[in-house]
Symmetry: C2
Subunit: 731 residues, 2 copies
């Protein structure tokens, strides 16, 4: 193979070097006064404790599944100890990316607060650089792991004949499986953690005791901030790591069909391997584009951080647009014929761009349906005037309605990409969408860091202008979070389709015919799984939140300083702190730091670990059971399993959009009241009845948008990847 | 053709005769005192006014579509004026069945109240006989219309060659299309009507003004009772009429493939037509079984009406089980070969039974998830202790979880029926499920009649023991409603699959391959439609309820007698009426009859008619656009449209179960508090905080379970039927 292939691990290492230097830079920033550092340490320790607990459970899972893969391979496929190697590598890379990202994010939060004491741009830089470590860590480890394994496996099996490359890919899919496994538990566990803490903190702290968000008297407040990191940094990172790897692997598998074509064999520099290597090369280009993009993220005092972030992303997207033209046309033959159809390199390029554009479009649509002040959110605010019930109905309605446009965009992209470059086109569209994951994820992870920074400012009782700056960063974070969620769903959908196509290639299926009863039946069963999975996630959050609520109530009644301080606050309601009596102020001061934050962190951690098991197993077991049951009864499980995949993908995407957008819209409808909103000529504020109704909607939306919805992303990719791994055994 | 074919219209006429005599019997029952008769007249006039308004809009729709069908036919298919004839007949039969059923139901309600003055059994008889008119009217008109048209069309086209029978069936599918069109508007319009009235009556009447349900001072109370008839009698009737006709027609279309087989040609009495006629003959058998079953519905004073209803249904099911064995084995050859596969008459019988059993099983599962005192409902009640948000999350979770078992049963039935008898097996399973629609629907319609009877008792201020008897009937009605909803969804799913198979037969599609990009894309779009459709329905209810709320508030402030009476009630809160001061009692008496019920009825009517148009058009237009767009671009729209159908069916069934069961479970969780429920050692009653949370859940669930959920049943059948009708034009 051409030595240029070593450019791939080199790009991965470049990303990791970037990560390293950015981490050092973050660590060198001032971390604020003693109080801030103490709070920062609480959050960071809580987050790391969760990761340790989670990873020690997952280690067991990885060892068992790895052993099963090695053993199954020993009997059925000659090479399967290597599948186990891929699996373990994928799991380790994903876990490592999560670890690095979280570690830096929990350092960046308090340093963002400290930087906000000097100015907005400095705070933005810290927060964004903190996020970029997560982003670049994910793409760096993803590409490095994949490319090294690929190079190693081609040295084992050879890389010139189609059969050999097919073997390489069969073994390499294990990497994607490993990544998916970690992602599933990280997303589900993180989602349960964050929402148990959030709902618990809100219901007892805000609603019952009447203390503001992030107030140090609330025992659940540290757990709540830990949850932001666990769910939105580590969870989102693992999610995109999975999409990133899945899309690349899926495309490579489909690219195997081109290895033996004479048009490719005669084509330099990679010959038959060009189509197989293209997705990794696009990813490498994305790394370079993302790194360059990060240098454009800067804002002046009084400026808009949103524009800064957008500029970085647009620069990266523009660069990718250009580089990928030269990559695709340089790498692939101008045209070739496969299965009687003629394809062109230009077609592949346009398919890539279709994916990139669809990702951006779906993100923007998401922003419309969930954005602050946009019509759908205003509708929900208006319906809050007649009470909680109408607020809830309106939010559910907005979520359902918001599925229409993204699905049409997705369907259009699928048809277009296929028209341009066949199944390979659908898969490469997913790669196009995900190539810039580096900067995309940096922007996503920036959100929870800013959110945390605000929390630290509040808990450390810093001056108002500091909180104002972190609030400005945080508000932008909400928009990026909404767009990021839309993007994550869209990429999960395209990745699942790429894996679906790869599954057909691996099993040699020529068609999956819905008019076959078994396919239709499994289409139903597959479509049901995301509903069941969501129900499990919602139930888990409910139970975990209940435990949290009881603990917070216990502390409020058992710890006498807290009890006294709550009394004082209640007595002085509506009065600014400085006008309280000296004695009241003393009681209040005395209570600080008396809340037992650690107990709440522990409860969230234990609940999340315990509750993530069932939904996790459902995702892994369902495709295995269906595949082998049909293989056993009818001789082949491939087509029925294909029906299951299609069902999971279609219904999962819809349910994910519905839940994410309902939740996002409720959240912002509540925020509109908190800023004050005029409806039918009257102005409503925080504390009004409509606001209370909107708070309920927001609480319902929390597990929707942060637990069940995002977890479904993983479900559909994981089920596809499991199918891909067991494909050779059930065909 | 054998003269025995005239048994089919004869069975239809038998059902209609039964309807006629039962109606006369109802009319001859005492209608109670003057006050009761006045209230009964209000309800009946309101209901009839709605039907008139609805039908006059639909008449326009039917004329336009009929003309389009006739014109399209004139250019493309020689016989299409006959398609138009079928279409109009189907629409008229469905409308007529709705008219008859509603007319009698709104007579039976007040007579049930009157009968409850003498005893429980007498009241049960009136209510059930009232419902049986709807049930038998639907099956009688369905079978009569279909069989007469079939006999006529075979006389036009001939009935011996496969080509001729295929033409007959192409023309006959119009009947199903007509039935579906009416059903759609009846379900959607009725659903919007009933929930606008209900939500309006609850939110202002119960919550704001604090007056009990069905209280004569509430201006929306008559509209609420009208809504029960419009939604649960006419809407449910149209829904099952559509399923009934759709399942029969779908099976007949697939049966055409057997016309030319020698095994059939040589077989008496119907020769090649046996498989085509079998579904109608099963329907005729079901009519006889249902009529006999109704005679077993009787209860002693102090007995359980549930057992009486169950007995009737079990007798009918047992009879059908036996009769259909003789029918199937007598009519079909013992075995035959089609497309290389050998089928048997016994296999067809077992497929029929699989459908029947699946229908019952799904009904029972539904009852478990939504039933009073069952574990899922108790869970929701428990989660109400921590407030509205957790109640809502729990209800959504129960609804999602409740999809799992019905889907597994459905998938099992599909696989089994297909294993036994191929595509014909899947379709005949739907017929097996629906053959006893006569008594099934009688039991369903019994529910709203009993509910209304309770309302009349309350509004006429009859003695408590009368209300106790009607409450007993009503409680059973809630269970039958839950089971009925599960059954309606299951039958819609199987009917859609039958129509799907028929669509493949008509278009000559050999496969619908999910791995084709267009099919996958349309699978996504199809799956999205039920979400969009639900959102439209929820939005419509929200807007209509808002109008109702404003009207009720206006009356409370403009009508001085009402205002005074509300004051008096508030002042005497918690005090029994008889202990009020004389003056207060006088003010209270004075207000009776002062509410302007008619205004509320008018608002609901107008809103329902206006709001049913958009979702209705979506259902009709979507398949036409997709079919012709793909035909235009790619040369054939059949496969892409097949993908759309599969998507709509799968996601529609799931969303319908989710919404119906969430709503049902919320409803009963609220009722548990109203009866008093013990949770964690403490007893909670009506008026407690958890009860208030549960009321919000119930209000959210109302449009879920009575508007959006049931409307989806129609959506999936209608889209399938439209596809079937345009099938010959887009292949």
């Amino acid at each position: 193979m051409n030595q240029l292939v070593y450019l791939l691990p080199a790009a991965g290492i470049l990303a990791l070097l970037f990560t390293f230097f950015r981490s050092r830079w973050i660590a060198s920033q001032p971390a604020g006064n003693e109080q801030m550092q103490r709070i920062g340490a609480f959050i960071s320790e809580g987050a790391m404790a969760f990761l340790r607990a989670e990873y020690s459970v997952l280690a067991g899972f990885v060892v068992i599944v790895g052993a099963l893969l090695a053993w199954q391979g020993a009997s059925e496929v000659e090479s399967s100890p290597l599948v186990a190697l891929s699996f373990v590598s994928g799991a380790v890379c994903s876990a490592l990316a999560g670890y690095i990202g979280m570690r830096v994010a929990t350092k960046a939060n308090v340093r963002t607060t400290a930087a906000a004491q000097t100015g907005l741009n400095q705070a933005l830089r810290v927060a964004f650089n903190g996020g970029s470590v997560m982003g670049m860590g994910v793409v760096g480890l993803g590409l490095l792991g994949l490319s090294i394994l690929f190079i190693y496996y081609t040295s084992v099996f050879g890389a010139s004949a189609e059969m050999d490359v097919a073997k390489v890919m069969t073994v390499l899919t294990g990497f994607s499986f490993g990544a998916s496994s970690i992602a599933l538990f990280a997303r589900v566990g993180g989602g349960i953690y964050t929402k148990a803490a959030d709902v618990g903190a809100d219901l007892v702290g805000k609603v019952e005791a009447g203390i503001p968000e992030d107030h140090p008297l609330n025992p659940a407040t540290i757990a709540d901030n830990v949850g932001d990191n666990v769910g939105d940094v580590a969870g989102m990172g693992a999610d995109l790591f999975e999409s990133y790897v899945g899309a690349i692997v899926g495309t490579m598998v489909i690219g195997v069909a081109m290895v033996a074509l004479p048009e490719f064999q005669q084509h330099a520099p990679f010959g038959g391997l060009s189509a197989v290597l293209l997705p990794m090369l696009l990813a490498a280009a994305g790394i370079v584009a993302s790194i360059l993009g990060t240098f454009f993220v800067r804002v002046r005092e009084g400026g808009n951080p949103q524009i800064a972030l957008n500029t970085g992303q647009f620069v990266a997207a523009g660069l990718l647009l250009v580089i990928s033209w030269f990559l695709v046309t340089g790498l692939l033959p101008a045209q070739w014929t496969l299965g009687g159809v003629t394809y062109t390199a230009a077609g592949v390029y346009w398919a890539t761009i279709a994916g990139l554009v669809a990702g951006v479009a779906i993100g923007l649509i998401t922003e419309y349906y969930t954005g602050f002040g946009k019509k759908p959110v205003l509708d929900i605010a208006r319906q809050s005037l007649t009470g909680t019930a109408t607020n809830i109905i309106a939010g559910l309605g907005v979520g359902m309605r918001s599925t229409a446009l993204p699905i049409l965009v997705l369907a259009g992209a699928v048809i277009l990409a296929h028209e341009m470059a066949g199944l390979y086109g659908i898969a490469i569209a997913a790669v196009g969408m995900l190539a810039n994951t580096g900067i995309q994820l940096a922007v996503d992870a920036y959100g929870p860091i800013s959110d945390n920074a605000g929390g630290v400012a509040e808990m450390s009782r810093l001056p108002k202008e500091v909180r104002a700056r972190t609030d400005k960063l945080d508000a932008v974070g909400n928009t990026t979070a909404a767009i990021g969620k839309g993007f994550a769903i869209a990429s999960a959908a395209l990745t699942a389709l790429a894996l679906f196509s790869a599954f057909m290639a691996v099993t040699g299926l020529k068609s999956i015919d819905i008019s076959h009863a078994s396919v239709m039946a499994m289409l139903f069963v597959g479509a049901m799984l995301p509903f069941l999975f969501s129900a499990l996630a919602l139930g888990a959050v409910g139970r975990a939140a209940m435990a949290m609520i009881q603990e917070v109530r216990r502390q409020f009644s058992d710890i006498k300083e807290l009890r006294a301080a709550l009394d004082v606050m209640r007595r002085n309601e509506g009065v600014e702190h400085e006008y309280w009596s000296k004695q009241d102020q003393a009681v209040f001061e005395d209570a600080h730091g008396k809340a037992e934050y650690g107990k709440c962190v522990e409860i969230s951690t234990k609940a999340a670990i315990r509750e993530m098991v069932m939904p996790g197993l459902l995702a892994v077991v369902a495709p295995v059971v269906v595949g082998f049951a049909f293989k056993w009864v009818t001789g082949s499980g491939a087509e029925a399993l294909g029906g299951l995949l299609a069902g999971v993908t279609v219904s999962g995407v819809l349910l994910a959009i519905f839940q994410a957008n309902s939740g996002g819209a409720w959240d912002n409808a509540k925020k509109m009241f908190e800023e004050g909103v005029e409806i039918q000529g009257q102005k409503y504020y925080k504390g009004s009845d409509p606001h209370k109704a909107a708070v309920v909607g927001d609480t319902v939306g929390d597990p929707f948008k942060d637990t069940a919805g995002p977890s479904i992303n993983i479900l559909l990719k994981l089920i596809s990847v499991v199918a891909l791994v067991i494909g050779p055994l059930i065909r």
